[in-house]
């Protein structure tokens, strides 16, 4: 120990401030949250040990089951829509004149915060917004109170999130596309393959490293979706559009069920780490 300090004293001096801050803020928090998840704690009396009760509740209580289901809907939707659309936009825009203008338009929502995006879409889903256009086109039967009927509210919020998140995926795919080798495409052109055929059998396979990264990033983010929902519905009505992150917040800071909130955070953590393992493995383990 002292030998280590003697040889590394100077280096340690540089590294410690950051390491100490991280330990104080986050490592300690993780330990405390794990402990809380096994307790019942309202913030007033001392935490009371309840074993696995909070975890069992997540899979039995109807409110939490709805929340788990909504989270899964969000995960699947964000995995398919912003990634798929981002890929489509990038392929359409590749080698197109005026690419810059279109790129900026699709990218613009990403330069706004999720809070702002949420407010914008509450405004668009209000009575004189999207419903008005539906009625204009004779589709009045589709008009509804988008944010107060289930499950439409979840789909409406997914639309908002797709609007915000597609641009950045498009940008990543465009970078990936511009780095692809030219030869396979020339060969395909000589063979007379059309654009759709070329896309499926050449572009897509060559692009798969980028696709994996983009999907991984979307996946990690989709588990934690909070801001848009909090702004647009607050998880309501009657907690019908909550995801795990929103349920966690409500349990902890509205209902003061800190133990239950902690257990939900742990489930969220385990799920997101398990599913994104392949992504993390790419970023960390190869350096070990």
């Amino acid at each position: 120990m002292t030998a280590y300090l003697k040889r590394n004293g100077a280096a340690l001096l540089y590294t410690l401030p950051a390491a100490l801050l991280i330990t104080a803020f986050f490592i300690t928090s993780i330990v405390y949250t794990i402990y809380l998840s096994f307790t019942e704690y309202s913030g007033l009396a001392a935490p009371k040990w309840v074993g696995l009760a909070n975890y069992v509740a997540i899979f039995q209580d109807a409110t939490y089951i709805t929340s788990v289901n909504n989270t899964l809907i969000w995960v699947i939707a964000t995995l398919v829509l912003p990634v798929g659309l981002g890929l489509m936009f990038s392929v359409l825009l590749q080698n197109l004149k005026g690419q810059r203008l279109f790129k900026n338009i699709f990218y613009l929502p990403y330069a706004m915060s999720l809070t702002v995006v949420g407010v914008i879409w509450v405004f668009l889903f209000s009575q004189t917004g999207i419903n008005f256009v539906l009625q204009l086109f004779g589709l009045g039967s589709f008009a509804r109170d988008w944010l107060t009927s289930t499950p439409d509210n979840t789909f409406a919020m997914i639309v908002a999130s797709v609007w915000q998140g597609t641009g950045t995926n498009m940008l990543l795919f465009l970078i990936g596309l511009s780095a692809l080798p030219k030869e396979p495409f020339e060969a395909a052109a000589i063979d007379g393959a059309n654009r759709i055929r070329t896309f499926w059998s050449i572009t897509l396979p060559l692009l798969s490293p980028i696709t994996i990264v983009v999907m991984g990033m979307s996946l990690v983010n989709s588990f934690k979706i909070f801001d848009i929902i909090w702004v647009m519905t607050m998880g309501g009505p009657y907690r019908s559009s909550e995801t795990l992150a929103v349920t966690m917040y409500r349990e902890s800071f509205v209902l003061f069920h800190f133990g239950q909130g902690a257990a939900i955070s742990i489930v969220l953590t385990v799920a997101s780490i398990a599913v994104s393992w392949f992504y993390l493995r790419k970023t960390i383990v190869k350096e070990g």
């Binding site: 401030p17 991280i22 929502p109 915060s113 407010v119 914008i120 970078i175 742990i266 970023t283 960390i284």
Partner: protein, 277 residues
């Protein structure tokens, strides 16, 4: 040849339709943020404004919606928070990479672990801890949190970047008798400018856009960051002052939109760095 032309036209048509869909919400926000409340209530959101008072509505949002405080606080959090975080992270990376801290990889993992867990893990402990230590709802407490949350990613990027620097520069400086802090500030520091500009953009935007920690760790209008303020304002203003609310949206989005488009190149470079690693 003709087929390719038709294909191009089809592409243009598809992409233009999509672009119209994408840009319409933004246009509608700006249009309605410019209306007077009477003008807004008399029509629907698709009608072109008869009045033009975007500036006036913005002033309303600043004063009555109290967004002014939030904007100022978030500007401080964003600039100071990312600045200090980058400095501390550069120091940590310097210790690990240049001074070759033994077991440096494990120190790195310790710091980097801060990015792996969902933020929900930190909310309650930080809230409780902040209350106990008197940091809850204080400027210093908010700033300290933003510094801490920004550090892991900065260390990650700067550590990667430093490993690509030629080590001979450091050896030469050591032969000249430079002290480690001199090497850090005068030799390594200037070389770090490219990744630092990227990091600053990333972290400033993150802090500016943060909602959940602002909501959790602060309450008063003087401390609360801008997005938490906007979320509160939404609850109050959606029915009674929607044009003010929309002007508030334009106002709070301006800084990040300007940053993104002014520094777009850096941003793409930054995304490349993250994706490659």
């Amino acid at each position: 040849m003709k087929r390719i032309r038709i294909g191009q036209w089809v592409t243009y048509i598809i992409i233009s339709v999509l672009a119209v869909f994408w840009v319409t919400p933004v246009i509608l926000v700006v249009m309605n943020a410019s209306k007077s409340l009477a003008d807004f209530s008399s029509g629907n959101i698709w009608v072109f404004p008869k009045t033009f008072q975007l500036g006036l509505n913005m002033m309303d949002a600043l004063r009555m919606g109290n967004l002014g405080h939030g904007l100022l606080s978030s500007l401080c959090y964003g600039v100071l928070g990312s600045g200090i975080a980058i400095f501390l992270a550069a120091m940590a990376a310097f210790g690990i990479v240049i001074l070759r801290l033994k077991g440096g990889f494990y120190w790195f993992l310790l710091i980097y672990s801060g990015t792996i867990f969902p933020f929900q893990m930190y909310l309650v402990p930080l809230f409780k801890g902040y209350q106990k230590l008197g940091l809850y709802d204080t400027f210093g407490g908010m700033l300290l949190f933003y510094i801490a949350i920004a550090i892991p990613f900065c260390v990650f990027l700067l550590r990667n970047y430093m490993t690509t620097l030629p080590y001979e520069i450091v050896e030469a400086a050591q032969l000249d008798g430079s002290h480690s802090f001199g090497i850090f500030t005068r030799i390594i520091g200037p070389l770090l400018l490219p990744p630092i500009s990227v990091l600053f953009l990333f972290q400033f935007t993150w802090i500016w856009n943060d909602l959940v920690f602002g909501m959790t760790l602060s309450r008063s209008e003087t401390v609360r960051p801008v997005m938490a303020g906007l979320a509160t304002m939404q609850g109050i203003y959606f029915r009674s002052g929607i044009t003010t609310l929309l002007a508030g949206i334009v106002l709070t989005s301006m800084p990040t939109i300007l940053l993104f488009f002014a520094l777009q190149r850096n941003f793409i470079k930054g995304m490349l760095l993250t994706v490659k690693s």
